[in-house]
Amino acid sequence: MTTFKAIRQRFLAPLDPMLFNICLVLVALGLIVLYSASGSDMAKVVSQLRNLALAFAALWLMAVTPPHILEKLAFPVYGAALVALVGVALFGEVSHGARRWLHLGPVRVQPSEVMKIALPLALASYFEWRGKAIRWKDYLVAALLLLMPAALVVRQPDLGTALLIASSGFYVLYFAGLPWKIMTGGILAGLAALPAIWHMMHDYQKKRVLTLIDPSQDPLGAGYHTLQSMIALGSGGVLGKGWLHGTQSHLDFLPEHSTDFIFAVFGEEFGLIGETIFLSAMLILVARGFFIAHEGSTPFARLMAGSLSMTLFTYTFVNMGMVSGILPVVGVPLPFLSYGGTSLVTVFISIGITMSVHHHRKLVKQ
């Protein structure tokens, strides 16, 4: 018994029960929705189970890794991801008009995905390292660390991912005490730069923003996704049509219905009640993350837990906003529900890191 306990202590103790259980609930919900969204195709569910196995392994690995090791890894990982992004710009594979993938022998990687974790990790380590000596110029250095990868991803072009990477970096800066004056100034400058940004945007991006204002403008084109997902959601009503009984999403009207637009399937079948439950579960996850950040004993722990939880919420908000027609269509998957390994692993790694800083907090205190 004692050895069993020791093993359990060693292997399972880092897994924060609250975070872990909510994850399990959301994962189960995801599989149920995926089965329906894929047209009762078990193959997709099995494939997602494989992704989940990988994601849980990643979560556990992150949770057992002490923060000081994560800090040491931060810059090498960030540097490698940055080099890879430059590599993508130079020799990346072009798919659907954008360069996002890099071939490394037999492996195909999307460095912008790695950057989603690597950037907050690097920034948090930087602020931890500067510790008590943080000054104005440190925010400047951090901003530079943030802007380099963001600019490279914008050029791919993948504006959506670039904004998400930039926002996850910004959260670290904000939590690290970026002066309010700078933030206000930044927002004003951003507003002033809007016309210039609009000018620089690709035609398809402009079209997405314009159709947000009136989706019926272009029902076959950019407005198609939004219109179809709004019909699916709206017709779901308060209680939903019931599992496997969605109609819009099953008649192939709805594009990408197992990946970016899976929330429309979920909303159609489970209604407002189901959506509220899902959002509540996500909020509990974020709240627990914020609590861990609140209790964090080192700047690194606080910054990581705070920014990663906020990033998780951002993904949720952007995806749900896009599906319900209040945000433009950007390719952002919904955490836990969307089919696909990459986003799942990214989400689980960030939860694993949050678990790690919480589990190892006492060790740091001593």
């Binding site: 659907h96 008009g97 219109l227 959601l233 709206g234 779901g236 008649l251 908000f317 319900s324």
Partner: protein, 629 residues
Amino acid sequence: MQAPLRNPRKDRWEFQKRLRIFWWLVIGMSALLIVRLAWLQIVTYRYYHTLAEANRISIVPLVPNRGLILDRHGKVLAENNLTYTLEINPANHRHLDRLIDQLSEVVNIAPSDRKLFHKLLEETHGLTPIPIRSHLDEVEVARFSVNRYRFPQVEIHSRLIRNYPMGEAASHLVGYIGRITETDQDKLDDEDLTDQYRGTNYIGKLGIEGHYEQELHGRTGSEQVEVDASGHGVRSLSRTPPVPGNDLVLSIDAGLQDVAVKAFGSHRGALVALDPATGEVLALVSMPGFTPGLFVDGIDQEQWDQLNNSPDKPLNDRALRGQYPPGSTVKPFMALAALEKGVRRPEDTIVDPGYFSFPGSTHRYRDWKEGGHGIVDMHLSIVKSCDTYYYNLANLLGIDAMHDFFTQIGFGKKTGIDLDGEATGLYPSPEWKEKRFKQDWYAGETVICGIGQGYVLATPLQLAQAVGMLANRGIMMRPHLVMAIRDHATGHTRQVTSETVTTLALKPSDMDVVRDAMVDVTRPGGTAAEAGAGAPYAIAGKTGTAQVVGVKQGEKYNASQTAERNRDHAVFVAFAPADHPRIAVAVLVENGGHGGEAAAPIARQVMDYYLLGKLPAPPAAPGSLEKKP
């Protein structure tokens, strides 16, 4: 001055304050989402419910009709014919083979139809209805309609299917449409055209169909349709009609094209006929052709292999992509270059002993005629196609001057015709050789280029363009096929203007020298005298013979002892009537032997038809092509 160190406790308070701010932000944004969802699902629920549930709404793309392709006299080269197809919706159907078995009791289903069905099923992943039979006749339509209740998954559709009335005869020129493949789809995605191709299954792949895809396709419309539970349309809610594709009027003369194809008989080769004043292409032939309809219905592997592996290479467009040594057809241009540079006057003569050699060298560059032509001036050099004269002249001009002149008249670069996949050909220069082989240029290579051999390669299209320049008195026009683009609905026609590629500063008297010599080529004593015999108009022509296999020093080329595929290619370029040219032609007959015998008669038939409206006498056409012993 050192700034004071931070207070960790204060930092932590600040952090916790900021965390609380964000928490409220998270709550606020979540509330916004819930409000939005509640708006959709409670307030506007009725609206969306009606749209989705009572009668589901579906946005149906309305596919535009593809534009027609017509010849210059309005004869149809590509049209849309109404045919009936039988389509199976593979969704939720596990026993497709059994279904097809049952179906084959009602309508005839060939094994190739089955194969094609499974191929399409794989490609589309079973998301769209897939045709199992096309071109149903009336009896089959009736039989299926009676048995329809047995096949809820099978639908009969009337569809417009692309038809090419000229078939093989214009296959490379008109091209064909085929199913949109994944590669095509990626390209459409890249060009942001995915929306325009919703509901469209076919796309232009080759020839005019490929190059003018965007003109022919039209604009896709859309219709919001209420559909009942089984997916059948009930009522149209709103409709944006599609805009049909534009019709293309080609400068091709279908009758001329036909005459040219028939004139080739079973020979391989290419022919390009142009209006020299405008660059309008009157006939564009590559032999052998293929049946374009095969690609529209979806070609099966066997047929594809047969076409692709045939030694006759029917899929290769020889007129645009075939690169051949132009042989002696370069001689009129060499003469022009000499006159322009003032290297030689028309009346200057050389003595031809039957070969050319450099002083102090024993290597002989042989004339085609053993013993030579004796005393030769410029006129005679073209009429008799004297090689020695041009070996000599090339040596005088030098490769750089030759390269400059020939590049100016379009050698070694694309003509820019309105078709894809044109080859560039090659006119060598010492710089090119250094880059390509890292070797120095030899004087002997210049000499060989003088008679259009060695590294020189040209496409039949380039030859036609160049001889068109001669006909047009130094003004070279860009060859083009589309004369006018016509709006199918309004009939409004947009003329395509001809484009001048270059205007050579040539003296009229110089051009007269060359033209008069070319006229005598087709008269008694000339190398194409037989082909020119009895023509009521003057033909200015030049024969050429392109070596396929090199003939060694001291050896003699003997056609009857050379394997058919290794025999020389026959080339002929011409324009007529010589004083007011209306047509310029370049003909290449692969392994045809001498240009005057194999290629010139084809050109003659084409010119007779175009200028006199005369159709060749049926038995004479193949007979004239047979090689004389």
